[in-house]
Amino acid sequence: MNATGIPLKEPAVSAAAGDMEQLERAYIDASTRVPVLMFYTSAIAWLILGTLLAGFVSWKLHSPDLLGDISFLTWGRVRPAHMNVMVYGWASMAGMGTAIWLMARLCRTTLRFPLLLVAGAAFWNVGVLIGVGAILLGDSTGFQWLEFPRYVSVILFIAYTLMASWAVLMFRHRRGDQIYITQWYLLGAFLWFPWLYAAGQLMLFVVPVQGVLQSAVGWWYANNLLFLWFGAIALGTAYYMIPKVIGRPVYSYHLATIGFWSYALFSSWTGMTRLVDGPFPAWMITASIAATILTMIPVATVGLNHHMTMQGYFPLMRYSPTLRFTVFGAMSYTVFSVIGVLISLRSIASYVNFTEASIAYSHLGLYAFFTMVIFGSMYYIVPRLVGREWRYASLIKLHFWASAYGVGLMTLMLLAGGFLQGGNLENPALPFNESIETALPYLRGRSLAGILLTVSHFIFAYHFGLMLLGLGRTSTVPTFLNPVEAETSGGH
């Protein structure tokens, strides 16, 4: 793939522009510049807002009287606001930004009609803004991850149509027969999302299904959003970034095929594991548990594939920010899936089903896996869009460690607290309150982890702001985390 012989990544625009391929890439990157930067900027703004809301949520859980008398700051409203800002504001916009850039690169075509995307992003932002406002003002629907009222979903849908149409355009104009692994995942994500969103909206609000089925549809939606939308984008991104940065093709195409199809088949069936022992026909839940166990197949194949690709190149994580974030995310995918299997088994789920452990699971998926991969891709893509390199290696390092330790501590705290809480919950000899008391110290620990994440996000936002203002380094050498030895960087 990367014929330049540079161990880490090729410079944004080759000074010696003899290389036609380099030049073509530069043109393609330039065509995606405005929309992708717009997606990233909005995403990071949402990330900061969502982080502040998260701090609020976490803190109020153990200090319930903090600003409790203001209706729009009550815990039960701030929490869905936080979730929706992160899911639709941060994760979706950042994921779409990365996906657009990757698609343009992989289709080897310049982005046509960038204004369409800009309009789509603007609509999407307006939709999320109205939706979050509606939640805070008390107009939530009460379905997890679908709290936005119905009028907002219309706005989001229009926005999405605008954004999805470019994918069709790009595919029509793509060059070359080969469809790369990343493109499978991205195409999947972009086709799954509208169906998923439409099905969720229709079956919950337009022609609502009866009784408990609403919960089934709700969790089917939420889990599929996690897997088929965020998960697919993140896996596709990892399949691009890892080989790209180390300059080595993916270890096995065959494994990748197995991984992709088993992922699509099994992970889409996992939704009912959130409802273990609930009032449903047992087969629904059993089928989901079985599917969750079967997701070990894609986990194993994808993990093996990445591992074998990286084999011998792991030391490069010392230098490349992209690689470090992406590999962290890819490894978290394994952890996330294993924890998912663990907490869905009936014997364990009966203890932890109603505890903080499920929050840990969501954060593993959406943060440790998805967000870290997307951070990695941003470190790769943004310099190519603004023509500058990241200014401070120290800030990238701080960002990485604060994020990694933050999310690690958070999931540990929530898992430990959740398991203890669940143990006490299932011990009727103890008063109910005991189960909460047990979890409280861990919830305080989670707040500490939240401070780390807040620091990391502010650092990243600041650094990104510098890049946006053109204050990055002018250099043809990318910013490495640690000084690269003479023999590797000497070539250019």
């Binding site: 319930p64 009287d65 299904v209 009784g211 408990v212």
Partner: protein
């Protein structure tokens, strides 16, 4: 991979498989349930709920109660929900057929609420102080559908708390206080309603029936609720899980349970100067939560609906597909609460201990 067609087909195929499998087929299987009734067709369950209940559900959604409270009782072989007295049988799909949206919940930072209405003291047996002392008696609530009569929260009603007998009301026609409050606090089983009849705000008979226990209980049931699962009932509060209790709990959770981490929902209540008469639905607050002299805290309409909703949550009616644990034929069995510490002993008295796990 070459060629778009297999890719597209596969992407659609896998998704369609999941969509049909997990949403369409279940809809076909349990998506058209009807209420169940006995042979005569009289005892129908579940029934559609009142308008206040529906609105209360929206308040419940708007304020995110579902993020801490579940509404599902798991079977006794799977979990300990029934032993915790959160219900007398497992929840079944049929329990929820009129619920929209459904709040099954995914978190228990707070108690399960599937039967919170069933755990309220039953109105008809409450005049006797002992009756109010069996809040956990789900059995007793079976025969009492919880519609509007209970829903209209008329908690503290005519009896001002003992510590504020000097309700000002200089202009009011008939100032009630000194005469009535002693009567109320002395826990006379049926204090003469006429005594409380005052001027404009005369409560309806129905309200009276409810008001009486609300007024009389603060003193009485304290000692008689040892089996109460949580929290330990303290003096000066309405009987646990009654409408009046819910209002106090929503307004000041930590006045009832010091360790609670439930947010206070004060924005659902209005603190206002008492104009003439203390209103019938003013909250019975004590300590630092109590409004200053001459002020009162009254629930907004949303708060009343929310409490009506909570009082309406009741899955104690037997269903064919979900047997009562212990087979207690509900109305007959007197659920004599076990008289020992805070830990509820298994199931209702006299029922065979269910095989657990």
């Amino acid at each position: 991979m070459k060629g778009l067609a297999p890719l597209f087909l596969g992407i659609f195929g896998t998704f369609a498989f999941s969509w049909i499998g997990l949403t369409v087929i279940p809809t076909w299987q349990i998506g058209n349930l009807n209420p169940e009734s006995d042979e005569e067709g009289t005892d129908i369950y579940p029934r559609p709920q009142s308008g206040m209940f529906e609105r209360g559900a929206r308040v419940y959604a708007a304020n995110g109660c579902v993020y801490c409270h579940s509404q599902q009782v798991r079977a006794d072989y799977a979990a300990d929900d029934i032993e915790r007295k959160w219900g007398n049988r497992r929840s079944a799909p049929r329990d929820y057929i009129f619920d929209r949206p459904v709040f099954l919940g995914k978190m228990r930072m707070g108690q399960d609420l599937a039967n919170i209405g069933a755990r309220a003291p039953a109105p008809e047996e409450s005049p006797s102080p002992a009756g109010a002392a069996s809040p956990a008696g789900q059995g007793a609530a079976v025969s009492s559908p919880p519609p509007p009569a209970v829903a209209a929260p008329s908690p503290a009603a005519g009896s001002p708390p003992p510590k504020a007998p000097t309700s000002p009301a200089p202009a009011a026609a008939a100032s009630p206080s000194p005469a009535t409050s002693p009567a109320a606090t002395s826990s006379a089983p049926s204090p003469a309603p006429p005594g409380q009849r005052t001027g404009v705000a005369s409560p309806s008979p129905v309200q009276m029936a409810n008001a009486t226990p609300g007024g009389s209980s603060p003193v009485a049931p304290t000692a008689q609720t040892p089996g109460a699962p949580w929290p330990i009932q303290t003096a000066g509060l309405p009987p646990m899980y009654s409408a009046a209790w819910h209002h106090v709990h929503l307004y000041a959770p930590r006045s009832i349970n010091l360790d609670s981490n439930m947010p206070a929902y004060r924005f659902l209540y209005e603190k206002r100067r008492i104009a003439g008469e203390r209103s019938a639905d003013a909250l019975q607050l004590s300590g630092s939560d109590a409004p200053p002299e001459g002020w009162e805290v009254v629930p907004s309409y949303d708060a009343k609906c929310l409490v009506a909703y909570l009082m309406g949550l009741n899955q104690s009616h037997p269903l064919k597909e979900a047997k009562l644990v212990g087979g207690a034929s509900a109305p007959a069995a007197s659920p004599a609460p076990p008289a020992q510490g805070a830990s509820p002993s298994p199931a209702a008295a006299g029922s065979p201990v269910p095989a657990k796990k």
